[in-house]
Point group: C2
Chain length 212, copies 2
């Protein structure tokens, strides 16, 4: 399958590298096509390198792995290339600029995923994977037990495609929280994630939803 | 041990009833001492009935089980009775007045627990138990596995006392998230709780923190 991965940070590199290793046709996109990190990705993995627009055009499914506080501005510039596609939004609107603990730049009555859905009305935005670190995203077996990943989005078919991909990554406990407004719940988990990271001393953790 | 329980709703009734059943000396407090619910509690359980001020004066440890949007105003009026005591803040600042999903009346850069700690500088505020429903609070075995409850507060000794009480209720996985600002993380779990309640169709659930 053809994937576009927007963003060259740890999350983008990890997701894109795993998708290449799984045999998919992956293009990573950066602001400029000669970006050192995107060229490094292509060299190391055999994946493709391009601009944000080229990567979005390449993918049947596209991952937003850009920094949460820059995502909306960037995605606005490539809305045409994302038309009719599934955009998996992994970004978190965390602001560390005022020190610890970070706060969310949008929360409670809105979410980054909703902002993105509003500027991309012809795109099927699905929030997912933002509640675990990059290593766990692509290898849930790093954490023992049936821990949980969430999906939020307005389109059931798009969520189904993302859930299929999550299963192919090894995820067994996947909970559909509801429409895109339910991304507020997933994004508001980040303050807990940051605290647990401090307490546990590792990013290899997750929460499991357990019920009677 | 002597406990005060502020609030006569489902959470207050459940906590106070359990504490009486465990052999503790419990006074439930309401706005007025002749409140029907607080008298009903005393009649049913053999516990004591009083005003908010009387229940706060009675307890060595006091539980805030009032509605989150009314807690600060009420607690301000009984600050003297709470001086030097441990106040376990179970309340959630949820506002359902604008429909579903509810939003938090305070979040992200502040929390209800911090607001309470600020108006009660001589009280040891510990946020806990706000992330599960009343039935699970007092009987974690309703949900299978080692699921997790959190504590947040500025005073280690006060948190230790609350953790002892949690253990006596059957909690085995207790995570100290940090100082009172970490209550933001626990309170921001509520939007997820509300969504999961809708998806799972039961309040008998919880999250377990799992790590490598």
């Amino acid at each position: 399958m053809k994937f576009g991965v927007l963003g060259t940070g740890a999350v983008g590199q990890t997701i894109a590298g795993k998708l290449v290793a799984m045999g998919h046709d992956v293009m990573m996109g950066a602001r400029a096509a000669d970006n050192e990190k995107v060229l490094g990705f292509a060299r190391r993995t055999g994946g493709k390198a391009g601009t944000f627009a080229e990567a979005a055009a390449h993918g049947e499914m596209v991952f937003n792995c850009t920094r949460g506080d820059t995502s909306v501005a960037m995605l606005t510039t490539i809305s045409g290339e994302l038309e009719g596609k599934v955009l998996v939004d992994i970004a978190n609107p965390l602001d560390f600029s005022q020190g610890f603990p970070p706060h969310l730049t949008v929360s409670n009555t809105d979410s980054l995923a909703e902002q993105i859905q509003r500027i991309l009305p012809g795109t099927f935005v699905v929030k997912s994977l933002n509640t675990v670190n990059a290593a766990v995203m692509i290898d849930p077996s790093r954490v023992p037990g049936h821990h949980t990943v969430f999906v939020s989005g307005n389109d059931q078919h798009a969520k189904g495609k993302v859930m299929d991909l999550l299963r192919s990554l090894g995820w067994q406990s996947i909970i559909d929280l509801g429409d895109i407004t339910s991304a507020r719940a997933a994004e508001q988990l980040l303050p807990l994630w940051v605290r647990l990271f401090g307490v546990l001393g590792t990013g290899d953790f997750n929460i499991a939803v357990m019920k009677a």
